[in-house]
């Protein structure tokens, strides 16, 4: 009799898998995209990007990119068209997805992170694709690049392996809020030389940007100035160690004031030549975007540090 009862109980439990049950406890949310969907979205991106590189025309990119990253790529293509005077276009691309991370969100816009290995440039791209509304396409909105040797922090995730986004304006247990960290980078870069007690790391990004600016200051007969401003932060994800990873954008304006009676003849193929065509007699202004990937450690002695960046000239005016 006991064996019979056990058999009945097991049969009922086995059948119970098909019994209606309450839904998961994640409320009205959606994981932005599955791995399969990301593959399809990225295949589409590769196709349009290849067309843009083939034609050296930004038009195909407008179907798959948006915001600062579209502006940077458009600027790069414009410079490349200038370079075409001496070189044939190179449309080679080798972009391989290495990891996909998607958060669980309760409303549009939806977004996800994809870590991509760029075999041509030997870099790792940490990209964000965003869908603004339920009827709009997925567009690349951020694409900071890191060296292959750079290790990203482990991301925090919920019980369903969904990324945990964080509030850009909330400091919580961090050394500073994400928006404040990006603002601090803009303030640091507005100083031509290192300060005594910087609030962010004097990392390779800061060093490199200062070196570029100092080189421009050395042009004879030109007064050069540079201004950095931070754009509002949208994407922040939690790291497993309690820190966060921030996708920030910095806007940079390079201003050239030329002494009367002098002029600048930019080198052929340079971004200045592409955007400030011809000779510059009076003044010129170049606008840049830099997308940066900043790691903010949990509260302690460590400072925020830039792990990667992607930037370039987006506009210019001169006469």
């Amino acid at each position: 009799m006991r064996r019979l009862a056990l058999a009945v109980v097991l049969a009922v439990l086995a059948a119970g898998c098909a019994i209606p049950h309450p839904k998961d406890s994640h409320g009205v949310t959606k994981v932005a995209a599955s791995d399969t969907e990301v593959e399809q979205i990225y295949d589409r991106y590769r196709d349009y990007r290849k067309d843009a590189l083939d034609l050296l025309d930004e038009q195909p990119l407008t179907a798959v990119e948006s915001g600062a990253v579209l502006a940077i790529d458009t600027g790069a293509l414009r410079v490349a068209r200038r370079l075409l005077l001496t070189k044939a276009p190179d449309d080679t691309q080798d972009l391989q997805i290495r990891a996909v991370y998607a958060p669980r969100l309760d409303a549009y816009p939806l977004w996800f992170i994809v870590v991509v290995e760029d075999g041509v440039r030997d870099l790792t791209k940490v990209q964000i694709f965003q869908r603004q509304s339920s009827t709009s396409p997925w567009l690349l909105v951020a694409s900071p690049e890191t060296l292959p040797s750079t290790e990203l922090p482990a991301f925090d995730s919920d019980t369903t392996d969904a990324l945990m986004p964080a509030d850009p304006f909330r400091q919580g247990q961090l050394v500073m809020s994400p928006q404040k960290a990006v603002n601090a980078y803009a303030a640091t870069l507005n100083n031509a030389a290192p300060t005594e007690d910087p609030v962010v790391s004097e990392d390779s990004f800061v060093t490199q940007m200062r070196a570029v600016a100092n080189k421009q200051r050395q042009i004879d007969g030109v007064t050069f100035s540079q201004q950095w401003t931070a754009r509002p932060v949208q994407y922040v994800i939690r790291a497993a160690d309690g820190g966060v990873l921030v996708f920030g954008t910095l806007a940079r304006v390079d201003d050239y004031q030329i002494e009367e009676g002098r002029y600048i003849d930019w080198p052929e193929g340079s971004e200045q030549k592409a955007f400030l065509s011809g000779r510059l007699y009076s003044s010129g202004e170049l606008h840049y975007y830099h997308q940066i990937l900043v790691y903010i450690p949990p509260d302690g002695d460590d400072k925020p540090v830039v792990l990667g960046q992607y930037g370039g000239v987006v506009d210019g005016i001169g006469y």
Binding site: V8, A11, V12, A15, G16, P20, V28, S134, T135
Partner: protein, 218 residues
């Protein structure tokens, strides 16, 4: 103590038997429970369910919608986040609650914008159907938040909309019978316990029944 446990087991057995019989009778041998047709009063071009309406996962829902025979209509099922964004600014009737067999709460939401795209142009439907006069879809209720939407395609409204819904539960009839069998076994155990008779194993010595073999001396 044994009699109390036995009584509780028998009570559970009765509950399990009633539940099992109920499941088996409601679902029948085709494992399906159906309700409708039911009319939903609306003059809007869109009817949508709130995520709370489908708070359970597992069964397969089949829904048939009937409207005016010349009206083209679309039925779609998708994650509630997608549908909320899609119909966000459009005039609609929302089904805000549902209790079986058929009791619903509705509310009218006003909006002046058309849908941002034709329903056939979006890529996140789990199930969809476009027909004229009558359309049917089947979808397994997922773990994620979920909504259904009915849209009057090409203008017009959903006046006179009628819903016929059925739930399919794989092996549901067998589950009902299994519960009845389980109840019988449980009840038997309870009855034995209530009787207060000890369980005797073969070859076991029972102290009460042992009497020494005493003989009187001559």
């Amino acid at each position: 103590m044994r009699r109390v446990v036995g009584s509780v087991l028998m009570l559970f057995a009765v509950v399990a038997a009633v539940l099992g019989a109920g499941i088996a009778i409601v679902l029948g041998t085709d494992n399906r429970a159906e309700t409708g047709p039911h009319e939903i009063e609306t003059s809007a071009p869109v009817v949508v369910t709130s995520p709370e309406v489908f708070s359970w996962a597992g069964p397969t829902l089949t829904m048939r919608i009937d409207v005016d025979k010349d009206q083209q209509l679309f039925i779609g099922a998708a994650n509630a986040v997608d549908i909320a964004d899609y119909v966000g600014s459009t005039q609609r009737t929302e089904i805000s609650s549902y209790n079986p067999p058929w009791s619903i709460g509705t509310r009218d939401v006003f909006g002046d914008a058309p849908l941002p795209a034709a329903p056939g142009q979006v890529d996140w439907w789990m199930a969809q159907s476009t027909e004229t006069g009558s359309a049917t879809i089947s979808v397994k209720l997922p773990e994620q938040a979920f909504s259904l939407v009915v849209i009057a395609v090409g203008g017009g409204d959903l006046d006179g909309l009628q819903v016929t819904a059925s739930y399919d539960i794989d092996g549901g009839f067998g589950i009902g019978l299994g519960l009845i069998g389980f109840a019988v076994g449980l009840g038997l155990f309870g009855w034995i316990a209530v009787q207060g008779r000890p369980l005797v194993r073969e070859g076991e010595l029972i102290e009460d029944e042992f009497e020494p073999d005493v003989r009187e001396g001559v």
